[in-house]
């Protein structure tokens, strides 16, 4: 089932949760809605399900306008972060709920049981149909919740931070497993996450949201390698930035010009975004900028160097192979293999993940 979202708007009081979102979701794809909290990603997901009534805009399920349809009529599978299993029902009755009381064609109890057992097999919980949810672990509960959502043979599968309440180890396992289930069943799947790693690893495409608006939609590669906005650059992966002047397709940092590919930015103050792994160290006389190493930290298979550059002591982070001989206090030159420049954002994104120049 193909989903088309047209100019969707939703406000809570004066706070715009969604301001005119347009998004096409392809049939059979697994798409992640990624953004920090308050970005509107969950509101968008709930609006697709019909759990939230938008103030304006339309949602198409294929050719059908679902905007004014009730939750029940939309026939979507929804998985909640905290499972929302019916505690007074056994696993079997939880999964059978939609088939027994839903809007679809009535099935016989034997057919329902058959289907439940098939789904339990799919989610690898064979033999647990007689348990109550309280007797299951968090990961098992979420798999029951998924089986319950799949039982109604939904047109779309929507997951709201499905692994958010689980610990890291279980989360990684379930992530891989969800991808597998998606490939087996072929449902159009939309899931919400604030975990970029999860979004990048799991999905065919990622839609990045910020302040109720779509920032960029693309494959994980596109999002990572060609961020469309400074927000995406800062939100996805590590990056540092330098203040530059944008002039005729060049970014000028303290008199030195860097050619930039993105020249649609207007001339004026801007910021140059660089990922730590795209910084190479050269002799102090070479390189586009010069600086001094003020800190070295070990980070996995690499070393991270904090480098103070320019007269204002802006900070740039570099990811170095451990065999490179450097020490704190060294004067170095810096080359940037890749970078992007954007006009100065009057409100720079405030994110824990983005390391802004000090």
């Amino acid at each position: 089932m193909e989903l088309k979202i047209r100019n969707l708007r939703k406000e809570y009081g004066n706070f715009p949760a969604l301001n005119g979102v347009n998004l096409d979701i392809r049939s059979g794809e697994l798409i992640a809605l990624l953004g920090p909290s308050g970005s509107g990603k969950t509101t968008l997901l709930r609006a697709i399900a019909g759990l939230e009534m938008p103030d304006g805009g339309q949602i198409f399920f294929g050719e059908r306008d679902a905007s004014r349809q009730s939750v029940q009529q939309r026939h979507v599978g929804f998985v909640f972060q905290h499972y929302a299993l019916f505690k007074h029902m056994k696993v079997l009755d939880n999964i059978a709920f939609g088939m027994r009381y839903g809007q679809g064609r009535r099935k016989s109890e034997a057919q329902i049981r058959q289907k439940v057992l098939e789904l339990l097999d799919l989610v690898q919980l064979n033999g647990l149909e007689g348990r109550y949810p309280s007797q299951l672990s968090g990961g098992q509960r979420q798999r029951v919740a998924l089986a319950r959502a799949l039982a109604i043979e939904p047109q779309v599968l929507l997951l709201d931070e499905p692994f958010g309440a689980l610990d890291a180890q279980v989360r990684k396992g379930l992530r891989r497993w969800l991808r597998q289930i998606h490939d087996e069943t072929g449902h159009t799947t939309v899931f919400v996450t604030h975990d970029q790693e999860e979004a990048m690893e799991l999905s065919d495409r990622v839609a990045v949201l910020h302040k109720g608006g779509l920032q960029q939609v693309g494959t994980p590669d596109e999002i990572y390698d060609n961020p469309a906005t400074p927000f995406v650059y800062a939100f996805i992966g590590d990056s540092t930035s330098l203040p530059v002047d944008l002039r005729n397709g060049e970014a000028v940092f303290e008199g030195r010009a860097l050619r930039i590919s993105r020249v649609d930015s207007p001339d004026g103050p801007g910021r140059l975004h660089i990922r730590p792994q795209d910084v190479t160290l050269t002799a102090p006389s070479d390189g586009v900028v010069h600086g001094k190493i003020i800190g070295l930290r070990r980070s996995g298979g690499y070393r991270r160097a904090d480098i103070s550059v320019g007269v204002k002591h802006d900070r740039v982070e570099a990811l170095l192979p451990p065999e490179q001989e450097v020490s704190v206090g060294d004067e170095v030159g810096l080359d940037f293999r890749r970078y992007a420049a954007f006009a100065e954002d009057r409100e720079p994104p405030k994110l824990g993940l983005a390391r802004k120049a000090a």
Binding site: A49, F97, G98, G102, S134, A149
Partner: protein
């Protein structure tokens, strides 16, 4: 076997356990034990004779029957009241919320007199059903005060806060996602109500029911004013006990009291078992 002297992260079991026994003994077990002992001293034959007297029997039936009925009605309508007070916000919500507690706070005699004044045939509500009213011309006149119906009204009045107050915290904590999950699975609202919400509320509803019932069985003050106290018709068991006492028939009084005690205990025990069972199903194992 419980270990009394093991080092524990939550010490004080021995002391508090002893206190519980002492306290329960002084407050509940010894006084009630005395009642039972006194009644037992009458001997089985006399006991049976007292309890099978028509006035005793009908008073007990009236008390327990009406109390169960009133608790049942309160369970239904108290649920609706609690639902509205927790789920919706509307002008005057705090006022209604506070008003629910009034039956707790009011001296029961005041409640009884007020109810009698209103439900008597010349009272505000009573006159709506009195001979000559619209109701009477369609269904025949209905007398509320001075009949078992009046007792029922008083028992509903005093039992309501128990149901509302036990349900409110549970309703506040009721996970909205459960209802949303039910809706996404295609269930219509009534199905969600009966298959998802009510089973989740069942333990609290049973507790509220038990409390309302227990209060109604023991209620005296508000009932005697509205009941009319016609022996065999609208005479409740607690009143019969008082009557026996006034006649210096202590044996008779304790016999009826023991019967009430036993019946209440059995009913509350049953409710508690049902509640424990439904709680366990919900995964709150204690």
């Amino acid at each position: 076997m419980p270990q009394f002297r093991t080092p524990s992260a939550i010490p004080g079991f021995g002391l508090t356990y002893g206190f519980v026994w002492l306290y329960l003994s002084i407050i509940i077990l010894i006084p009630l034990g005395a009642v039972v002992l006194w009644a037992a001293s009458l001997g089985p034959a006399k006991l049976v004779a007292i309890l099978t007297r028509p006035d005793t029997f009908s008073a007990l039936r009236l008390s327990f029957g009406l109390s169960l009925l009133a608790a049942g009605v309160n369970a239904v309508f108290g649920l609706i009241v609690a639902w509205v007070l927790t789920r919706y916000s509307f002008p005057g919500r705090r006022f209604f919320d506070a008003a629910v507690d009034l039956p707790f706070a009011l001296p029961t005699a005041v409640a009884g007199i007020a109810l009698t004044a209103i439900y008597a045939q010349n009272g505000w509500v009573g006159s709506l059903f009195a001979p000559g009213s619209l109701w009477a011309s369609v269904f025949g006149p209905l007398k509320i005060a001075y009949t078992p119906l009046g007792i029922f009204v008083a028992l509903v009045f005093i039992g309501l806060p128990f149901v509302v107050r036990t349900l409110q915290p549970v309703l506040v904590d009721l996970d909205k996602e459960l209802e949303e999950a039910s809706a996404t699975l295609g269930a219509r609202r009534p199905t969600t109500l009966f298959k998802v919400i009510l089973p989740t509320l069942a333990p609290a509803l049973l507790t509220g029911f038990a409390l309302a019932f227990a209060r109604a069985v023991g209620e005296y003050g508000s009932v005697i004013f509205i009941a009319g106290n016609i022996p065999g018709v609208s005479e409740i068991a607690p009143l019969l006990i008082i009557t026996r006492l006034e006649q210096f028939d202590y044996g008779g009084a304790t016999a009826i009291a023991t019967a009430m005690l036993a019946l209440s205990f059995v009913i509350l025990l049953l409710v508690n078992f049902t509640e424990a069972w439904s709680r366990k199903r919900l995964g709150h194992v204690r």
